[in-house]
Symmetry: D2
Subunit: 393 residues, 4 copies
Amino acid sequence: MTDQSSSLRVAMIGHAFMGNAHSQAWRTAPHFFALPLHPEMTVVVGRDADRAAEAAARLGWAESSTDWRAVIARDDIDVVDICTPGDTHAEIAIAALEAGKHVLCEKPLANTVAEAEAMTAAADQARSHGVRAMVGFTYRRVPAIGLARRLVDEGRIGEVRHVRAQYLQDWIADPEAPLSWRLDKEKAGSGALGDIGAHVVDLTQFITGSRITELTGRLETFVKERPYAAGDTSGSLGSGGTTTERGPVTVDDAASFLATFAGGAMGVFEATRFATGRKNAIRIEVNGSLGSLAFDFEDMNVLEYFDAREDADVAGFRRIIATEATHPYVAAWWPPGHGLGYEHGFTHQVVDLVTAIADGTDPSPSFADGLNVQRVLDAVETSSLTRTWQEIQ
Amino acid sequence: MTDQSSSLRVAMIGHAFMGNAHSQAWRTAPHFFALPLHPEMTVVVGRDADRAAEAAARLGWAESSTDWRAVIARDDIDVVDICTPGDTHAEIAIAALEAGKHVLCEKPLANTVAEAEAMTAAADQARSHGVRAMVGFTYRRVPAIGLARRLVDEGRIGEVRHVRAQYLQDWIADPEAPLSWRLDKEKAGSGALGDIGAHVVDLTQFITGSRITELTGRLETFVKERPYAAGDTSGSLGSGGTTTERGPVTVDDAASFLATFAGGAMGVFEATRFATGRKNAIRIEVNGSLGSLAFDFEDMNVLEYFDAREDADVAGFRRIIATEATHPYVAAWWPPGHGLGYEHGFTHQVVDLVTAIADGTDPSPSFADGLNVQRVLDAVETSSLTRTWQEIQ
Amino acid sequence: MTDQSSSLRVAMIGHAFMGNAHSQAWRTAPHFFALPLHPEMTVVVGRDADRAAEAAARLGWAESSTDWRAVIARDDIDVVDICTPGDTHAEIAIAALEAGKHVLCEKPLANTVAEAEAMTAAADQARSHGVRAMVGFTYRRVPAIGLARRLVDEGRIGEVRHVRAQYLQDWIADPEAPLSWRLDKEKAGSGALGDIGAHVVDLTQFITGSRITELTGRLETFVKERPYAAGDTSGSLGSGGTTTERGPVTVDDAASFLATFAGGAMGVFEATRFATGRKNAIRIEVNGSLGSLAFDFEDMNVLEYFDAREDADVAGFRRIIATEATHPYVAAWWPPGHGLGYEHGFTHQVVDLVTAIADGTDPSPSFADGLNVQRVLDAVETSSLTRTWQEIQ
Amino acid sequence: MTDQSSSLRVAMIGHAFMGNAHSQAWRTAPHFFALPLHPEMTVVVGRDADRAAEAAARLGWAESSTDWRAVIARDDIDVVDICTPGDTHAEIAIAALEAGKHVLCEKPLANTVAEAEAMTAAADQARSHGVRAMVGFTYRRVPAIGLARRLVDEGRIGEVRHVRAQYLQDWIADPEAPLSWRLDKEKAGSGALGDIGAHVVDLTQFITGSRITELTGRLETFVKERPYAAGDTSGSLGSGGTTTERGPVTVDDAASFLATFAGGAMGVFEATRFATGRKNAIRIEVNGSLGSLAFDFEDMNVLEYFDAREDADVAGFRRIIATEATHPYVAAWWPPGHGLGYEHGFTHQVVDLVTAIADGTDPSPSFADGLNVQRVLDAVETSSLTRTWQEIQ
């Protein structure tokens, strides 16, 4: 239906939780947004041939493969979408960029700053050849978050004084929850810090338009050993019971840190998988000299906004339901009040990436943005070990 | 401490739940508000001498009595505050007014329209002699409600289209909850309708500044028989166990009705004691052509306000915490955010009554307002029996 | 990719707002749910050939047509999905059923009871030949609503005493909002009553498992004349400005009614397009003898539940985030706390329809359910005209 | 009315904001609670004779004085209630204890650890003579907070993992808000840290029953200079305009710190006067291995509680309206759902102090508790200067 000149042929590496979300986005974006290029879901890559073939059928990819290197080498691939654990990001992304493929890489960009630096260098190199690289902080693309960024940018809250951000989950609050690759430092790089803390670092910097310059923080592992998962453990979130044998948890269960933003704002951050009852509570509050904003992903279609210039008689936090046509991305979807869900951020990510590729502009967040987040995470780890404040480059 | 010319000597009839609330108001008002007359808590009246004496000591009244007629006849009484069940209101209030005493009468004004008419006539007569009469719809004096009235009055929500009001309680949802005087038509006049429905009728008319002109409604008694309360049953809310014998519930458990307001707004009302989990949820929403208001007594220091003239980008219901010094009654109390409670409405009622008496103006709500509410309640009862729409005079 | 024996070939009639939502559902369901039959999006039908062709390309249908009769006659169509305005439902649905096609028909089932009766008769007839018919009350398939139904069914709230339901929108609160087909009685059948009131009638009967037996209600049209929409008016929600000429609004702007449920519960209903600031607020509260439930579509992933059997010390409405794998439909999607959106209800509808067809069972809600809702709506209209209580068959 | 043996004669030093709140408590407590001793409001002390006399009349004290030393020396004083700025607490409290008077001292106990140590030593000494000392962390006595303590104590949330606490105000977010004694380190000791941070330190330790053992923190002063207040500046919260001259702000505008609790829980704290739109938001969340609690003073009658042992199907944070008779202090007040306000905590404080004095037991929180809080605050200041973690004794 689309000629080759207008199509964008995608290879996705990895097909677990993130691969599922990315697939839904690639499938859906063209039906709601007028994309300048037509994405083709060409091939999905997995370690196991049968499972990759099953994923291709289920997720809507034309083919499957177990050899990401071979896929990257193909002429009929334009974009490589990396949905694997963090320890593999650098190798795949750099190879793809060097092969002239545009790259979308899930966050965190890498498991180490060194890897992220190499990836950013590769992206810089590739950019000079018109090749684009983007890191997947999809929560930026929740309409209420986009609106928050817009309101700060319009000066509506004035000078930012306070940023408080929490990412609260509870999926391993139970000490008998099994080990998964997300609890293994080799694969995951870090625990709550990199998995979810990375999101609030990115989101607060995105919303405020200001970088974290220094921080002091601490990591904690409440449960040091856990039972191994029984059966198939390839899924990211572990289910299907546990064995009697136990292994060490090598990542943090929770992280907290104090930060200073470039503009002088005080930041307070927390990321945990032990906030019993909080399932995916991304909470961000920003207090400025003229107003405040508040967001909670548990009510993801809402942004709260306080305008301090209003008369005291009628001033109050407004519950803006961010489903109006004027709100970011929303015009393509449903009438006001017909809420969007988690997956829509991924669809918006595809829209922005495809648009940037077609326009020949740099998509955002860039690998440099991803590297910056990695440096913040790295500073938290160092600070936790040395119990000192750390500056961020 | 105060000379007689500036004091206002109060007799309170009844000392149960309402008597307790009124006493706290009489005691407290002079300490926070600069009253033009100094209330003196002269005498409390009860049916039982010992219990009345105990109440006087506990509630802070100088004397007690069992003879309200004798008390009304005293020269050293300026105000009669009626806190008894509704079946006694008319007799006491009319006698007090005829004796030249200012009267504060708890709601509902009476148990029947005929009684309320007689009381209103007595109040009209007394007014010509400078004697004041007020009915106790204290929720009008919650600051957030006063603010709602002010915002409507300022035209901020434009033409009112919809009024929806609920008063939800659950204290007899349990079929084994005992009979109390509040479930006896002789004493209480009606059930949920008069006890709590009366409040939302008054509040919605107060906030909108518009009267109900017609309605169709229905009453329901879910539990027809209940055990008698064991032991002392003089308290209004029954506690202390039940007997094995049962008696009939002669009032409604719940009421609902559709209404039309003079300005054309559609009203939907509900009052019930069977809304399991709702303890004292007075919920009022008003939608106008330019905006909306929402109130819930379960978060009583808050008024929500939507301004439809704002850009869609930032429009949303504002959660106004009605604790600013500019909000009604608040300047006398605490700094912003230091919330008030249920009893403060009673204190504000004392302030307004004392001020009106000193100023020689009519306090509000008047007996005529109370009569109007009674006519609305009466129309609901008639409508429930005849299953027809009823007009209100 | 699928052989004919396992595929289900769908024709969709209409491609506006509902057609868009249905298309997303047909495209998405097979990727998240293991369907027993594979839906093929064979043909979309519209009145205008160019626009239908454009819709086919955009929404993912293989072909387009302007002749629904011809499409129904095709051998390679198994399901007819009707997304047109209500005045066309009966003709299309009956023809499709008679042609042996399974039918999914958007709500309201029809514009009149007579049409709905004919459709239900046709569905009964078709059932005997193994042909299935379903009406599209998709909000039943919001997980929190499915959970509400389950909790009532499990007896968790006991005997139902109160049902209060509101469907509040504000998209024509502005008197200058243009006329659209939704404001034309010929096409739409009714206004707020049939468009959105129908949903809360269905939802409350679904959740409680009990039918409305009688009601008294009233309709109101606040704005009697409106400007015509300028330009293309085929879209359901009108945009693109207005003309200076005005035409009559022939449907209700708002509806309210009191109802009795078969089990004795009192119902209070309201549907309006004039609740300024409420975008798509479907609010349902059910109070039972043992507990209560509350839902608001503005926070659509949440169900509130009060359990009256708990100790008073810790009793309270629980905010259940209905995104756990145990909640209806959720296991197929994302981890806990990763919310679903408006469109997911349509996807779940496809799942249930396809499953019923494959299993040879009747899908729910049936045309008989749709007819019942139509009778309730009809009774509201009659009641509004006659100002009397109406019984429902 | 009470003989001397059963009366408790109180002298209150200071009559500004806190003096007003304490007076309301002394006046009100005997009318709602059956106190073992009858408080007599004997004398109020202020710096200015006229203003003290006015305060006595307004607040209900029998006499006034300008000489606190003389008052402490009086035989007819049993309790000294200290409501002055923090720089005077030590001198007055120690003198009062040495004179054999029971002492209630507003928080923070003192402006320095050294003063607080001396006061605690004096309290220890006095205790051996049956003299009682209590520090005024009244928020402990909000029923929802008392309930939180009880639920932790009952083991309902298991082992505490996370404590997050914020005290957010905005009363000096405007850079032109005037200097008041609360912005002067000499008088106030510290800014947001001691004024409001002290409360959340006390509350979290009270609720969890666990002490902070180490912390790292930082203070910030966003606005370094402010205009002087015009006119009378004796009130704590400054009003009445400003002068053109400016002076230095010598206290912190905001404080944040990370902490470790004795039981291993991670703490994250924030106190600020620059959270635009937050008036008095005391927010405390505690996550444990079996459940969680959440409180926000902006909805002060509510405690949220999550029980992780419930089925996932129905688990959710419960909104417990802490107005049931079984909740702390509530039985003395109103029926369920009739909320209490800010001032009730002070009344409960009087109840607990009078009860402890009568029973001959130590009231809580003790001066040692106040000293502990002071050490935590001191550690935050040191940490902010040295940028290191600090241990608490």
